[in-house]
Structure formats: structure tokens, C-alpha cells
Symmetry: C2
Subunit: 129 residues, 2 copies
């Protein structure tokens, strides 16, 4: 059984490579812009600046074959199962990012902080609870 994800938008960020990306948004990540595809315009209805959101992204540069990794990519920490880490290398490389929506203008959302790479596909947006 397989399921298909379709991007609903893309990340535009000054972070261009995995080396430049903080491990978590709270570790000094910059703000970023999300451009939503026009066909999802109605799904933005009711979004308000200042609200906390969870962005779900697709880590398009990941290696999906990894089951165990060094946490934080640090070879001095023993390997562990990927389900007890936030490694982007995992069987289904979905990223979770809690951000604040600072501005919304037509199909563009400005959010902060976001550690995702420039060009990362966004697959869902939910209100944080």
C-alpha cells in the first residue's frame, strides 16, 4: 500500500544547503516565505498573522534507506533508531516545523523561525494546539 503526497507550496529561504541549516527552528533559524500554489487559495481562508502553525514539509534531500543514525549527525553519539530522532533521513521524510505566521499577503506566508532548505516542498499546514 502506498499513498501519494502533492506539494501545496514551497519554502523560500536564505538556507541553501543542509550544512547551513540549524537542526531545529529554535536554534537560530531565520524567517522564511512560503508560496502557496494558486489551487489551494481557498484553504488559506481564516489564517491570521500572529497565529502559531505547524508546517509539514517533505525533506526532498533525504536518504530514505536509513533506519539508524547518529543523533544530530554527531558521530560521537552512538547510533539510534530514526523513530527516536528528528533526523531528516528516515523512511517517510516528513518535516514538522512549529512557526509563527508573521504576515500573509495573497498566496505568500511569512513565517519564523524555519530551519527548512530553500525549495523544500510544503505538504500541509495546521494550527498548533
Amino acid at each position: 500500500m502506498e499513498y501519494t503526497l502533492t506539494p501545496i507550496g514551497y519554502v523560500h529561504s536564505m538556507i541553501k544547503t543542509r550544512d547551513q541549516a540549524p537542526k531545529q527552528g529554535t536554534e537560530g533559524a531565520p524567517s522564511a516565505e512560503i508560496s502557496i500554489l494558486p489551487e489551494y487559495r481557498d484553504a488559506l481562508d481564516g489564517m491570521e498573522p500572529g497565529s502559531r502553525l505547524i508546517l509539514l514539509t517533505w525533506f526532498h534531500k533525504s536518504d530514505r534507506t536509513y533506519l539508524r543514525v547518529h543523533p544530530r549527525g554527531n558521530v560521537n553519539i552512538p547510533k539510534r533508531g530514526v523513530f527516536s530522532t528528528r533526523s531528516p533521513d528516515r523512511p517517510n521524510p516528513i518535516g514538522l516545523h512549529e512557526v509563527t505566521l508573521t504576515k500573509i499577503s495573497n498566496l505568500n506566508l511569512e513565517v519564523t523561525p524555519l530551519e527548512a532548505l530553500d525549495g523544500t516542498p510544503v505538504v500541509d499546514i495546521k494550527p498548533a494546539i
Copy 2:
């Protein structure tokens, strides 16, 4: 562009229909068991009972064509864009569930509380931060 998700396990729950499911885990959801597929055994390495996890599921009973919904399925609340709701009906119907891992035995995880339906595919597990 499309991306493919593969289940890494399945939910076993006393909740058999959407009518029976609380809207959120914190609204009286029961505990549930997750059976992980054998090929992902190594990815469980290092998981500890008592830890807080985020389960990502695939809402397999969802309608992906909805862009606006009545929040909480309540027709008395005006419709809103799905990205400002937690509706399971959305373009990429990924569920997010924060749970406590209460027991781990071989490939079976006991978690609580979980509002997902029996048979729901699980696509990822991450530590809560």
C-alpha cells in the same frame, strides 16, 4: 511532482468509525496499540516507555477534495480554510498525534491517548520536543 508514503505500521484501536472518534486525543481518547512492520524494527532502537512521541498517520478515510470545512464538523460554525483547522479532510491527509509511549514489546507500541481509527496507517514516529 508527487511523493510516495509507505506505512511503517498500523493503529489497533477500539475506535472503529469516525463518529466514535474524539476530535482530539485530549478529548477522552483511549489508549491504542501500534504494530510496526518487521522491516522497520531497527528504527525503534532507543525508544523508551514514558517518552512523549508524535505519531504521523494517514487519514485513510478522508476526502482530499475539501479546501474549506465547518470547524469540528459543526454546521453552526462558518466554513474556514482547511489549513486553519485540524480537519482530517484536507489535500494531504496526514494526522499528527502527540502521545505517551506506555509500553514497548517487540514490534508493538502501546500509546495513549490516541483518537485515530482502528486500521489507520502510521507513516512516521518522532520524539516530541
